[in-house]
């Protein structure tokens, strides 16, 4: 394996890992519960995307930046901007979900499959 093939993995690991470290520190050092941290990180991703700070992270880290929750916020923001540019103000309401349709539908479907296959006890 050459350095060129390994490097993207290493970058993804570092960027994704640092995002997770930030979330873990937030969870351990404050008394907020995990649901708040998740929502906060989605919002943080959208805000950073709007400030033009999340794009470079995605370029550097690839999936390391798009897979964690701020990546979802980033997709929401970018989807809205693109849809507004193409279709006008209605894109404010439609752009976010258009851009994240893959992730949202995959989550709903996998939830359905898991619920059908397994019997939750608690």
């Amino acid at each position: 394996m050459t350095t060129a093939t390994v490097l993207p993995f290493l970058q993804a690991f570092l960027v994704g890992g640092l995002i997770c470290v930030a979330a873990q520190l937030f969870l351990d050092l404050t008394r907020v519960n995990p649901a708040y941290v998740m929502v906060l990180f989605v919002c943080l991703g959208a805000v950073l995307s709007g400030l033009g700070l999340y794009g470079p992270l995605v370029e550097a880290g690839g999936a390391g930046a798009t897979v964690p929750l701020p990546g979802f916020g980033h997709s929401l923001y970018q989807g809205i901007i693109q849809d507004v540019t193409e279709n006008g103000l209605s894109g404010l309401l439609t752009g976010g979900l258009k851009a994240t349709a893959l992730g949202v539908t995959a989550a709903v479907l996998s939830g359905l499959v898991i619920a059908a296959v397994f019997n939750p006890k608690g």
Binding site: L27, R31, P34, K121, G122
Partner: protein, 364 residues
């Protein structure tokens, strides 16, 4: 040493303490626990140790009821009685509408008094059993309590399948049930006093740190008990709080010391005894109604029967919150009830041969 009663309430001493002149006897106890408790340092002392946490039941709630029935069954069996010999049953648990207790009572056909006192239920049920026996309203009463890690997690925290991370101050709810038969006659340790607690709230709102919330209530009840009864610290071989665990126990020890009550190494907490915290990943220690129930009904009873302990103060501690109230931002009101249990005979002087060890003495 014991103060005399109040006018109009001759068996009440001081502000909060009841005394039981007839010295009701704990003739038998039974315990049933899950695998983690079985692997803990007290594991060999329990009557029933389960291999899994569902016991073939379809839900955690049914599993908890199942445990309570096994503990009650062991208590009854060990003294050669049947459920028909019991006049009353006091039971409570942590679940909404105390379903673990009432579903178990459905199987037993014994007059049932359901209790809710959160994790202080074991001491409360012992106190009420002793009271009913002492007053002549029951010849034998069953005092019991249960909790189950997964039913408590599901109700108070997160769905168990979610696998949420646990805070270092959080405590591990004991999967276990304890049952004690309190009788007017028989052989075994006796209940001489009970101090019923007042509800205290020091404004702690973190449901992951119940030990800190409950410590002041435990201390208040302990201090009141000593004040009411006139007992000194040396009159007790052990004071055991219910489930303060590491964080709460150290706070309680500090508060007791500040209040001038020096128990000098004779103070412990059931939440510290039940697990090996360095190897069992239980964070601060054990909690739940089952915690003081199984530690008392197995470990502490055995020490009383073995004559390692002459007089014990069991102080079960309860956090009186609901998932709704803490989600609405309310603080956690707490309570602690205490019962004095002495080995039979004129304590603390030893007498006669030891009753059979193993958790329950036989009825003569």
């Amino acid at each position: 040493m014991t103060a005399t009663g109040k006018p109009g309430a001759r068996n009440r001493v001081g502000r909060q303490t009841l005394r039981f002149p007839s010295r009701p006897v704990i003739i038998s106890t039974g315990t049933a626990v899950g695998p983690r408790e079985g692997q803990g340092p007290l594991g060999t002392g329990f009557d029933v140790v389960k291999k899994d946490t569902l016991f073939g039941e379809k839900s955690w709630e049914h599993a908890e009821s199942h445990l309570l029935l096994e503990a009650a069954g062991a208590a009854v069996r060990k003294c050669g009685l049947t459920y028909a010999d019991l006049d009353l049953m006091f039971a409570g648990d942590l679940l909404n509408q105390i379903v673990a207790s009432s579903f178990a009572a459905r199987e037993l056909d014994v007059p049932f008094v359901g209790l809710y006192a959160a994790c202080s239920t074991m001491a409360e049920s012992l106190a009420l059993s002793a009271l009913f026996v002492d007053a002549g309203y029951a010849a034998r009463a069953l005092a019991c309590s249960s909790s189950h890690h997964d039913s408590a997690e599901r109700q108070y925290r997160y769905p168990t399948e979610f696998g949420a991370q646990r805070a270092p101050t959080s405590q591990w709810t004991v999967t276990g049930a304890g049952a004690a038969i309190v009788a007017a006659v028989g052989d075994g340790p006796v209940i001489t006093h009970a101090t019923l607690g007042r509800v205290l709230d020091f404004g702690i709102k973190d449901p992951n740190d119940m030990g800190s919330a409950m410590a002041p209530a435990a201390v208040q009840t302990i201090l009141q008990h000593f004040q009411d009864t006139g007992f000194g610290p040396r009159d007790y071989d052990l004071v055991a709080t219910g489930d303060l665990a590491e964080v709460g126990q150290s706070i309680a020890a500090l508060l007791l010391k500040e209040a001038g009550l020096d128990l000098a190494g004779r103070y412990t907490d059931c939440g510290l005894l039940i697990y090996d915290r360095s190897n069992q990943d239980v964070q601060a220690g054990g909690s739940g109604c089952g915690c003081s129930a199984v530690v008392f009904c197995a470990h502490l009873m055995r020490r009383l029967l073995n004559r390692e302990l002459g007089r014990l103060l069991l102080v079960s501690t309860g956090a009186l919150l609901s998932p709704t109230t803490y989600q609405q931002g309310d603080s956690i009101p707490c309570i602690a009830h205490a019962v004095t249990v002495e080995r039979a005979g004129p304590a603390p002087s030893p007498r006669g041969p030891c009753p059979a060890a193993g958790g329950g003495a036989m009825l003569r």
